[in-house]
Chain length 332, copies 2
Amino acid sequence: MEATQIVLASRPKGTPTKDNFRFENIALPALKEGEVLLEPVYASVDPYMRGRMSDAKSYVPPFQVNAPMEGGAVAKVLESKSELLRAGDMVLGALPWATKSIASAEKLQKIDASLAPSSYYLGILGMPGLTAYFGLLDIGKPKAGETVVVSGAAGAVGLVVGQLAKIQGCRVVGLAGSEEKVALLKAEFGYDEVINYKTTKDLDTALKAACPSGVDVYFDNVGGEITDAVIRNINFHARIVLCGQIALYNETAPSSGPRFLPMILTRSALIQGFIVSNYSERFPEGIQQLVKWVKEGKLHYQETILEGFDRLPEAFLGLFSGENKGKMLVKI
Amino acid sequence: MEATQIVLASRPKGTPTKDNFRFENIALPALKEGEVLLEPVYASVDPYMRGRMSDAKSYVPPFQVNAPMEGGAVAKVLESKSELLRAGDMVLGALPWATKSIASAEKLQKIDASLAPSSYYLGILGMPGLTAYFGLLDIGKPKAGETVVVSGAAGAVGLVVGQLAKIQGCRVVGLAGSEEKVALLKAEFGYDEVINYKTTKDLDTALKAACPSGVDVYFDNVGGEITDAVIRNINFHARIVLCGQIALYNETAPSSGPRFLPMILTRSALIQGFIVSNYSERFPEGIQQLVKWVKEGKLHYQETILEGFDRLPEAFLGLFSGENKGKMLVKI
């Protein structure tokens, strides 16, 4: 069985480019007992993958050079040598970037495509949705009437965070990088105010205007100067949910920024870094609640889908230039 | 009744100097119903007072220019017009820097000088001891076998933190600013390792050597470059207890430092700023436990006591040059 895969050709220095990837044709071996042959339907590209392209110590092991890239995917079972899955089943798993692949059935999760479109399991009902759910509700603990600020508001996680904060009765202020995103977040996703951080010269003043009662919860997907500005506006007992730092992922050395720990101290504020897998035991609870809100129409959803296996590198690189509105996916 | 008081003559720009204080003779009015006349015995100087000398928003209101400085003090009741206190009682309160003062008896706490020396109520059984107790145990949550790092280890809070961490069964590593302090912390206070941050050129390497299993809990009294180095060595699920940032209190504008939030994110670490008053409802529990450990000989204590009311400014300024070992006090 022939397939095409995309390998990490070299580790990026700074922002990744297409040259860090290489397409290869491979021959897949015969299926062994317990394995299935898969054809991906949707492949997810996510900011955390940038970390795995470096060989720095992190919470997931780095990708190996000359080995395939890997990420969340929804796939169709073509052949099965396992009692757990049958041909035609739809599954979710961490799969190589390949047009076909072989996986152990045990490591795959069968999904119910009648509950929601299968791509949702890579977004609002998957890692980004659960990240928003546990990060905001378990760490941020927003109370009705509080002000919640979200950076990367138009991203896969940010879209969900804002809506969850509205469900909690909060004032929700987002930061996003284009007028189109600003308009979308206000019109479709219930944001009370959205600041275009690319065109706003004085973020401090804009934040003060958008958050007249200060910031109680900051859900940070971005880091860097946006975060500096938000921290200058936090209230006593503010909670900073540290979910992503995409503005800093492509740095070749740690950059400098203003020292803000005195603010954290005098406000008795919290900063909590987290990874969604810390909550893996509670995923069923999270998915159940998210499905309920989606069905009730309380949670809207948005995807940016590029078509074609060949566009996986382009989709991934687009995350860093903010090409996506909502979840970025590739339809294989 | 005549008295001498020390007022804030001007707000400091950067590091305070003696010129920011002024001595004044005043006449005290007659006692009103419910009031007592007090003579201070010990006056406390504490780093947080630097914040009150500025007019920036913080968790305690700023001192007013031309009004007396104020701080924790143990005092003797000379005269009483309250049923709550009698002449001769020893009390704890927030009092003006003055050789005599009048206070409402309701705002004072009678202390039991038979339980411990009265000065202890400004230190190990007072604000610094309770700060160490709640910060370490409630936020840091050290587990036996973990590594706890303490900056400002020879300060009033740091001395207690290290000993509490030893009681919990941790490896304890301190940072202090002189060889005398290093020796004292190891010999008298059970520190496993102490780094002299003033003579150590490469803090990162020194920390790695002192913390071969990484840092699980960091109790930060200092901030700045010491904190940058410790954060580079934190473990997954590390807890950073933000108690003080004395290295930064005298800055005229926020300085820059390396951006460390990506480390906090990838380690799922916690940074929690706190103020001991957040725990005021639990003070009795804290004091009871601290007294027990002091009586059992499990908690040692150290004070640096300057003699004479006139030396209050000198004692306060000494905090910023690290003159003190343990709690800095003035015996009036």
